[in-house]
Symmetry: C2
Subunit: 447 residues, 2 copies
């Protein structure tokens, strides 16, 4: 690492001047005096790489490249800030910067979730720091909370609303009784959702972030490919209304938990008690609840995206590196995944191995004894019914003689629930597929 | 600072084995393996001072003293953990530890709020670290969030529920329609409130914590003596019910905000929109909302007290010091109050200089034209009425011919409101004192 303890300037190279890159550039410039007052040294942008350099940049005195690798090879850059996104050339860029002894700050959740193990190993060997606070939950300092603030805790579980787009859509569906496609279209028009919304609404973006959170919570290698992922496109306004009637909200959560069997790692729509603080996190906002054995439940809330909020965390990472002021022989003092030695004795559980309570919505034929038959099947598989809603049929359901039956079940293994649902769907009284949404009680805490 | 970079053990001395001290002792022992896995070195308790040593302690191999100064003078102690509380001998103890080149971790909010400036100056000169995460909001890493996670932000304001006892009392009063004295008595029986509850219910404890938060938010010297403090003992269940009817909850908040005039620094009951996340923080739980110019509003929630939650933050501070692994010449990398140079150009405003919206409850004589007269007085002082509740009188009010009128006003300077209230109280239609509670809108954000 090229930073010198006696040097009063830390030299920054920014790769990418898109939304977050532009925000970071602006933040470092506009807050120069205040940051120096905090850090006791100057943070200077000395090199910027962007495909389309604005004419003003040339006048700034900052070196400007169109090739990001020029920044990684610049001997006068102490910290390379990777904000180009995607896997390539971001991976090659970050590895080159590390090889050249530079610290790296990145907001690239996909890169860290998928290639983090490789990157952190390279950084460890070279004794440099790779920071990524901005990759998860934008402006919320959740990585810092997990790695440092809660370092005295064994983390038991965490659960987060870590994708603003899907939270915005679910909030709008619930508050204004609007269908998913309708709200999605609006979110795209507002710029909250991409033209291809798959990453957000199918939970892939949340899965990237959850993989990173889980590694920091439990000290395990990044295992994005093991995250169970279910999106929100099949959720109906009816489900949201039934959930509300039962005292719940539907949130798209990333959940990870350590159990005796291994580690749960899953992103899916979830019923959460309306009393829980996280159930009241609305719109594009993010929040993460962390359950530690000493601190209990703590919750972290804020903007999960946006140029300014994300840049806030990018610059906080830069300030951390500046304040640590470490020399080349020292290496990172805070391990990239919270622990100096990762555990490999904890396997990631398959979704069939988890336990949960369930919300089931069953389209049943409106006949005498149908409810008795359904409850008989559930009882057969050891599943208790904790709550029921059965309403008069209406609309096309009425014509077809279909009545919706909504159930909350007791806690049961998911594999057992799969079998029970198959048995229910095989009943001639049941029409089509059963809607299944997992329910989380968060140990009764006000998380 | 006596800590050696090559040494694989950090030696800890704990002063005080009360609730938090006992919790810290237990946590460091029970989590020894996991902490070593996080830090890469051993954290060993080598010396404990307690007035009443338990017989087991002697068998532990740890040096045991009844005099806390023995720990400060022990050359084999790297970090002194001050958990005796109070001003003296805590101040003398901490200053001696610093003079002897030891790092200090303390949970003592009163000590930091009142003597922090002296302590931090001594630590700066000696190049040691004094950490106090556990002094504010127990297990919530709020000091870390302010000093590090949000370091790229100019903080605009923060507001917190930072005393669990008063939040528990207000929650109980609201949820179960019970009067203050009744709930206080129960809180004392449950151990949530002290025999002398003044510190908690009059806001002194919250004022200690708010002074610390404000210094970290704005980079100003600690000025506990300048905090405006108003307790909750005058709040009635009627006020809570009226507030609810208007869409608000009453919370005992610490609020600090930088304005063009200076810094607001105040603890008082506050009406907060029921939509705000902080309005839904109930029971003994704490939460702090921080508004930064880049990150926007972020909120931090968790247990604000208790042996385990507080010990979680004490040990996190110890781990931070261990991970930093600094040598004697380096000194603190993270300034104790977030900035390397404090500002002295920001004066703390008197409560009469703030601006706020207000809740007013007026006991008016049930006569024709009384409301017109009240609104005439308010209009005269430039105060608009934003909402009104006027109910039929009942009980003793009915006999006396008194009707309660509840108003929400527009934003106005507090000095002007003082004059307006005096004018209202001078009306012969107004009976007794007017109840005034400040209202915060938090800029319309979902904080």
């Amino acid at each position: 690492m090229s930073q010198d303890r006696n040097k009063q300037t830390l030299r920054i190279g920014i790769c990418g001047l898109g939304t977050v890159g532009g925000g970071t550039y602006h933040l470092l410039n506009s807050k120069k005096t205040e940051i120096t007052r905090r850090v006791g040294m100057d943070l200077d942008i000395v090199h910027v790489a962007t495909r389309h350099p604005a004419p003003e940049l040339a006048k700034s005195g900052i070196r400007v490249s169109t090739n990001v690798f020029d920044v990684a090879n610049d001997p006068e850059v102490d910290i390379l800030v990777e904000l180009i996104g995607g896997y390539e050339p971001a991976l090659e860029l970050v590895l080159l910067a590390i090889a050249n002894g530079k610290n790296v700050v990145t907001a690239n959740k996909a890169l860290i979730a998928v290639h983090g193990n490789t990157i952190f190993e390279a950084a460890r060997k070279k004794g440099v720091v790779v920071s990524y606070e901005s990759a998860v939950a934008g402006g919320i300092p959740i990585i810092k909370a997990l790695r440092e603030g809660l370092a005295a805790n064994s983390i038991q579980w965490l659960a987060g609303i870590i994708n603003g787009t899907s939270n915005y859509i679910l909030t709008e569906m619930g508050e204004n009784n609007r269908d998913f496609p309708d709200v999605l279209k609006e979110a795209q028009q507002l710029g909250y959702a991409e033209a291809d919304p798959t990453f957000d609404v199918e939970g892939i973006d949340a899965a990237h972030k959850l993989a990173i959170l889980a590694s920091n919570a439990f000290g395990i290698a990044l295992q994005f490919e093991r995250v169970f992922t279910e999106g929100i496109s099949h959720i109906t306004t009816g489900d949201i209304a039934y959930a509300e009637e039962l005292g719940y909200r539907i949130k798209h959560l990333g959940i990870t938990r350590v159990t005796e069997l291994g580690i749960e790692l899953r992103v899916h729509p979830t019923l959460v008690s309306e009393q829980a603080l996280i159930a009241n996190v609305n719109g594009v906002m993010n929040a993460v609840v962390v359950k530690g054995d000493s601190a209990g439940s703590t919750l972290y809330y804020g903007a999960g995206a946006g140029a300014e909020a994300t840049a806030s965390s990018v610059v906080a990472d830069i300030i951390d590196i500046a304040r640590a002021g470490r020399d080349e022989t020292q290496g990172a003092s805070i391990p990239p995944l919270a622990f100096t030695a990762l555990r490999n004795d904890l396997k990631i559980l398959d979704i069939t191995e988890i336990e949960s309570e369930y919300y089931l919505r069953i389209s049943a034929r409106d006949r005498v004894g149908v409810f008795a038959k359904i409850s008989q099947v559930l009882t057969h598989y050891g599943i208790n019914i904790e709550a029921v809603i059965q309403k008069e049929p209406h609309g096309s359901d009425l014509e077809k003689g279909i009545v919706p039956i909504v159930l909350l079940t007791s806690r049961i293994n998911e594999a057992a629930m799969d079998v029970a649902i198959a048995a229910l769907e095989a009943l001639e009284e049941v029409d089509g597929q059963i809607m299944r949404i997992r329910v989380e009680q968060f140990d009764g805490e006000n998380g």
